[in-house]
Assembly symmetry: C2
Homo-oligomer: 417 residues x 2
């Protein structure tokens, strides 16, 4: 497909999705819920079809790494999780029509800020078929039209899942055109990213190169995160057991998630605790790359280079540094962090509040693991991703974050005169 053809195709798709999206925006929550529940039933009822499609995808994608092959694979249990996920979203409070603010002016005008859908959202993602269902469910429940551009390696699985969701929409009397799967042609991604005025938001979900490309090329608003360079700062007034528990969970519960800790900052006043934390990490198979002060505590520590402070390992490796106090910790996070998620461990509430106030990341925690950076853990039911930009939404992007607002003004004939 030429670029010009791809642009024209995207224009046509976006316009047809928008037309259907307007119907969705005007639909009742009950209707949207019914669509998602019907889709969940269909995912269960058509399990054999979906699993066969997935088997065909896996057979065709024989060259994948074992990690990617695992992400692509559907099992009966994973399919049930997908169906249950659709039902979870259907059970969430309706994000549309919420009155965010209401006020009156001396001239009698009544102002009301109400939540409305963003419009047409393009999700660009890689091989995990569960993203298809989750992203579609969140977009549709929030009244948004949705263009789902998944990876070609999962095309059959995605198509089978989307057929269930489309049938769910139809069963609820909603337009199936609110959901669209564009062609797998390579030119399409560029056209989606360039479709200013046609697509209202792009959300990339996948590896770093995909996110970097979207952030670099997009001419439409993007909600995304490229890095999660997250810090755990162990303050001098930290409880040692809490520090160890939080640190180990933040780093090692799962090392490949964006909420995993990548740097440990320890107060210089607690050399014994520092030694204990470093030993605990190393004994659990985590490589520790420390500054000179950390290296002096344990011979197994490897020297950190400047690059380690900005590294997102997504692996059992951690950078560790001794700092002189909160100000130094905050300055380190400001300089090297990625604005994703950072935590302090301390028994001193005033110190905690100072850290919470000064660290300008999407999520800042006190005495809790950075791995809580997750829409489910926030109580959002699901998330379509995590945003580290500064506008509109920061942190997990759930139903409410997929809405915007308009202002309604009710008068009785007022003019400015």
């Amino acid at each position: 497909m030429t670029e010009a053809h791809a642009r024209e195709a995207v224009r046509g798709w976006a316009e047809s999705v928008r037309t259907a999206q307007r119907v969705l925006a005007a639909s009742s929550a009950d209707q949207r819920r019914a669509a998602l529940r019907a889709a969940a039933d269909l995912v269960r009822g058509r399990a054999d079809t979906v699993l066969a499609a997935n088997a065909a995808d896996r057979a065709a994608a024989s060259g994948l790494s074992s990690a990617l092959a695992d992400r692509l694979a559907l099992t009966p249990a994973r399919l049930e999780a997908i169906a249950a996920g659709l039902e979870t979203v259907a059970a969430l409070p309706d994000p549309l029509g919420r009155v965010l603010k209401r006020w009156e002016r001396p001239n009698g005008l009544c102002f009301e800020r109400v939540a409305v859908p963003i419009g047409v959202i393009a999700i660009i993602y890689e091989s995990r078929p569960n993203v298809t269902a989750e992203a579609a469910a969140l977009c549709l429940m929030s009244g948004n039209g949705c263009i789902l551009r998944g990876g070609s390696e999962a095309a059959r699985s995605n198509a089978a899942l989307i057929a269930c969701i489309e049938a769910g929409l139809a069963a609820a009397g909603l337009p199936t055109a609110a959901l669209l799967v564009p062609s797998q042609d390579r030119a399409i991604v560029g056209s989606l990213l360039g479709a200013a005025g046609l697509i209202d938001l792009v959300i990339p979900r996948g590896g770093k190169s995909l996110v970097a490309r979207v952030e670099a090329e997009a001419r439409v608003p993007v909600l995304s995160h490229l890095n999660g360079i997250n810090h755990v700062y162990v303050h001098k007034a930290a409880d040692a057991d809490i520090a160890e528990r939080v640190m180990l969970d933040a780093k090692l519960r799962r090392t490949a998630v964006c909420g995993a800790a990548e740097t440990l900052l320890i107060d210089a006043a607690r050399p014994d605790l520092a030694r204990r934390l470093v030993a605990a990490l190393i004994e659990r198979g985590c490589e520790v790359r420390g500054d000179a002060a950390v290296a002096a505590l344990d011979a197994r520590v490897r020297p950190a280079s400047e690059a380690d402070w900005g590294a997102e390992y997504l692996d059992a490796i951690i950078a560790a540094r001794i700092v002189g106090g909160i100000d130094e910790a905050v300055a380190h996070v400001a300089r090297h962090g990625s604005g994703h998620t950072d935590a302090i461990v301390t028994g001193d509430a005033a110190a905690a509040e100072r850290f919470l106030g000064s660290v300008d990341s999407a999520i800042v925690l006190w005495n809790a693991s950075t791995q809580f950076a997750d829409g489910g853990e926030f109580g959002f039911g699901a998330e379509v991703g995590i945003a580290t930009g500064r506008l509109h939404a920061r942190g997990p992007v759930g139903l409410e974050e997929l809405t915007t607002y308009k202002t309604l003004v009710r008068g009785t004939g007022q003019v400015r005169g």
Copy 2:
């Protein structure tokens, strides 16, 4: 200046503004208020200096049109309005630290979404020196650093006003570097627009070509509006007097503002009212360009072409069309509007609510003039512009819209395990 030099210059400026902005973000509302009040006093105290700088600007800019020359001109009264504007912003509620939402999870984690500054904001604007003071005041009061790139024709006036605000910041013990005026070199605007990761938000304020350039080139988030193609829909149940009053104000109170109405839609059931409205407009010097049905009502109506439905006249011209009812009116607005501000006039509350619910513009009014599309009229005290994009802020951008949020999570040692 070469492009590479401009990029380096912008990097340095943005970093120095960000360092100062962090101090501002941590300052008390009282300190920020004191800075703005001190600045207001200085604007009054240095009136002669500012007016002399403005006289020099006007002398140098002898080629300006009379409209532009008027926008550039400062008078003692306008200077007093600028000083009073600074005080108005200082008196507004602190937008920082507001708790937007608070919730708890079954594991005991307490979540709090709090308002924080966006960061470093670049305002790119044209000849009106009052924008300098208003934009700086709103940015500083909301804890944002601010790069003010005004037009070269107002450079001396802007510098004199900024000197007052910088002195106000210094008097309040706040860093003057939170406010920066870049060089007038032409390469700078492009570098500001390209400074992803360095500048968090660009707000253009000025003519259509400036806004169009910013929207087309920016690699950083933008809050802006290009067009205000605003509609007044006179429903069949409209009160005739209210319809006339609202229509005339919406179109003619000021024709060059973005909230001015550009299209009149009248229900086919009210030919007499349509005739009255058309006559009232024409008698006040407004050209009416109508469809065939409107033209049939009054011989003075000129024929509308397809282009008229998408025209932003910013002049005493209006496009007028007879529609078959709410659905047709809503469809017309969806097709031709710019998502800025649209109004319905009706005595039928159910019809009004249907219009308010179906028209997806930043501002939708019932029985009130579209010219209320203004931060002051919203009760925001001031505005740095109006946004018609779909993310973050829609409508007037005031103090609250210049903030974003972070999520604080307070725990007692919770891990995901």
